[in-house]
């Protein structure tokens, strides 16, 4: 494992810190189908790390392994240098790993504000009885949480839909609300599953800007999956390239772009 004090400086001068998460020799099978085959890589503090590959390469499976939705048959996951035992998704979330979904999983019946507030459930400490008995303390906690949430709402420019039920929002805004909810947890690691899927050019640019700003403003470590090469290359510091469940490249966008295996995979394999 890499030394935690080790890091690097990005092209635009950001200091990237030690390893936050390390995946070691992960293999994931569904029945006889191998979705991920012996993959290792790490995610460092403060960086934007992308996992790319053609459709069906196993990117989403990898994200689901990180967030605990899938349990790999082989391999180990290290979080902050400690080996992570088998965990339920909610336990992973409580460790400070927040995520969004490719197909958007929001609470459709709730308002935008309520949705984002649920992102802070784990940051609320008062127990059930404490909430009933010490009303003042619970209220103060609620106010503090609301403050954090309002800053995020402001940051992502969704003030105008604060009270709107999520079900009434267009797709692009839903994606943004989902990002807001994930951010509300003040995560140590933010996982984005195809944040730009299904968006038009303008929405994609907005989303890219938000991702960069989040990383810049809050110093959030971000791992994202995307199959649109162009967007990813502009956005990320380091890229893992997957194809047919295997890792075929890992490095800075420039390194990956000139990697022969990657070129072959992207030219030889049809992708959309």
């Amino acid at each position: 494992m890499l030394d935690a004090s080790e890091g690097y400086v990005t092209e635009d001068g950001r200091q990237i810190g030690g390893v936050v998460m390390e995946m070691k020799n992960i293999t994931l099978r569904f029945g006889g189908v191998v979705a991920i085959k012996d993959i290792s890589f790490d995610i460092r503090e403060g960086e934007i790390r992308a996992i790319i590959g053609p459709n069906g390469a196993g990117k989403s499976s990898m994200l689901n392994v990180i967030s605990g939705f899938y349990i790999p048959q082989e391999g180990e996951v290290f979080f902050h240098g400690e080996k992570r035992p088998q965990m339920k998704p909610y336990e992973v979330a409580r460790q400070g790993i927040a995520r969004t979904f490719q197909n958007i999983a929001l609470f459709e019946g709730m308002s935008v504000l309520d949705n984002v507030m649920t992102g802070r459930l784990n940051n609320m400490k008062s127990g059930l009885f404490a909430q009933a008995l010490w009303k003042g303390k619970a209220e103060q906690e609620e106010t503090e949480n609301r403050e954090v949430v309002e800053k995020i709402i402001d940051f992502l420019e969704i003030q105008h839909i604060r009270k709107t039920p999520v079900s009434r929002l267009p797709y692009g805004l839903k994606k943004r609300v989902e990002l807001a909810r994930a951010l509300a947890a003040e995560p140590k690691l933010l996982l984005l599953d195809e944040p730009m899927a299904g968006m038009n050019v303008e929405e994609k640019e907005d989303m890219s800007r938000f991702i960069l700003d989040v990383n810049d403003e809050f110093g959030t470590t971000i791992a994202l999956i995307e199959h649109d090469m162009g967007v990813v290359m502009d956005l990320s510091d380091r890229v893992v390239v997957m194809d047919y469940g295997k890792k075929i490249g890992d490095g800075t966008p420039d390194e990956v772009r000139t990697n022969q295996d990657v070129i072959d995979a992207y030219l030889g394999v049809s992708h959309d």
Binding site: F69, A93, L106, D114, T118, A138
Partner: protein, 333 residues
């Protein structure tokens, strides 16, 4: 005021009280349905079980006495002590929480993601199983539950409303059962508490989140199992309240579990997913069936209370399938 108006008013008031009780039972259904998509057929039996347990604890009955006696040839039936109502209620709540945990741990945890009909069948099974366990634990005889709720007509109301008759000699003031009045207050407090719980507490918020989207709930760190146990516990608590009120009124007996069937039309009226709907639905049915019996009953030979609620529900199904407050059913082409 003319006679018919005075009596009509009294009928409406009584109907409201009955409606409150319907609403109480319907609430239990709504809670579980919203959070887990399970239509809990066993809700009525839970009320019966809770009331029997409360009675058993209060009078110091030995659980499973018949079973123990049959196996060991002993003749135990009571411990010989009596437990004050308030402590017995706390103990019963504990039993209902344990029940909730068992149900989740051994039944529904294994059925996550199954078709609604499978879940529904499971609750039917649960209902009959629970009914058997209840009989085995506490015996099947009718029990007169008395937790100290006042009974009989309220003289105070009768005396203080007599003037409304304005000298009408047939009018002695409104007759209202004290138990009904207390039940109304209890129901109101319960509803306010439930709403406050779901709106303002962390667990309540998590409960609403789970009701909305499981995957999203997981991703924000909500333990689904815990929430489901919580929901079943709350439903158990609501069942206990309903059991106490109905049990005090007409004794703890098997028919108590049938009130679940009365809750069905209430749900159809109010919508399966709406707490206010359950309350308004309960009140409408309560008042509606009493008024109908009062006005139309004599013309058709009475006993309209048996079917009025179902006919009303049927009409609703035809004209407004989502109920009064239910989520609008929108079909897109």
């Amino acid at each position: 005021m003319p006679d018919s108006l005075l009596f009509g008013t009294e009928v409406v008031l009584n109907g409201l009280m009955a409606g409150v009780l319907y609403a109480l039972v319907a609430l239990g259904f709504v809670l579980i349905y919203k959070a887990s998509g399970i239509f809990n057929y066993a809700q009525g039996v839970m009320a019966l079980f809770a009331a029997m347990t409360l009675y058993g604890i209060m009078v110091g009955q030995v659980p499973f006495a018949h079973l123990i006696n049959a196996i060991f040839g002993t003749h135990i039936h009571h411990f010989g002590w009596e437990v004050p109502a308030i402590i017995a209620i706390v103990l019963t709540i504990a039993v209902m929480v344990l029940f909730a945990w068992l149900v989740q741990q051994y039944i529904f945890r294994h059925l996550v993601g199954q078709e609604p009909i499978i879940l529904f069948m499971a609750t039917i099974g649960l209902a009959y199983f629970l009914e058997g366990v209840a009989d085995l634990m506490w015996g099947s005889e009718i029990k007169a539950l008395d937790v100290g709720l006042p009974q009989g007509g309220s003289f105070w109301i009768e005396e203080n409303t007599q003037w409304m008759g304005m000298g009408n000699e047939n009018f002695y003031g409104f007759f209202l059962d004290q138990l009904d009045l207390i039940a109304t207050v209890i129901a109101a407090v319960l509803v306010i508490a439930l709403v406050a719980f779901s709106q303002y507490t962390k667990q309540g918020r998590a409960m609403r989140a789970v009701a909305d989207d499981h995957q999203a709930a997981l991703s924000v760190g909500i333990n689904l199992n815990f929430i489901w146990v919580l929901v079943w516990s709350v439903a158990g608590f609501v069942a206990l309240v309903a059991g106490i009120v109905w049990g005090s009124k007409s004794g703890v007996q098997f028919s108590l579990s049938l009130i679940a069937l009365k809750a069905l039309p209430v749900l159809m009226l109010g919508g399966f997913t709406s707490i206010p709907g359950a309350i308004v639905g309960g009140l409408i049915i309560g008042v509606g069936e009493k008024l109908f019996e009062f006005a139309i009953g004599p013309l058709v030979g009475g006993a309209t209370e048996n079917w009025f609620a179902y006919v009303l529900a049927l009409l609703f199904l035809v004209f407004r399938p989502q109920g009064l407050f239910g989520d609008k059913i929108i079909e897109r082409v």
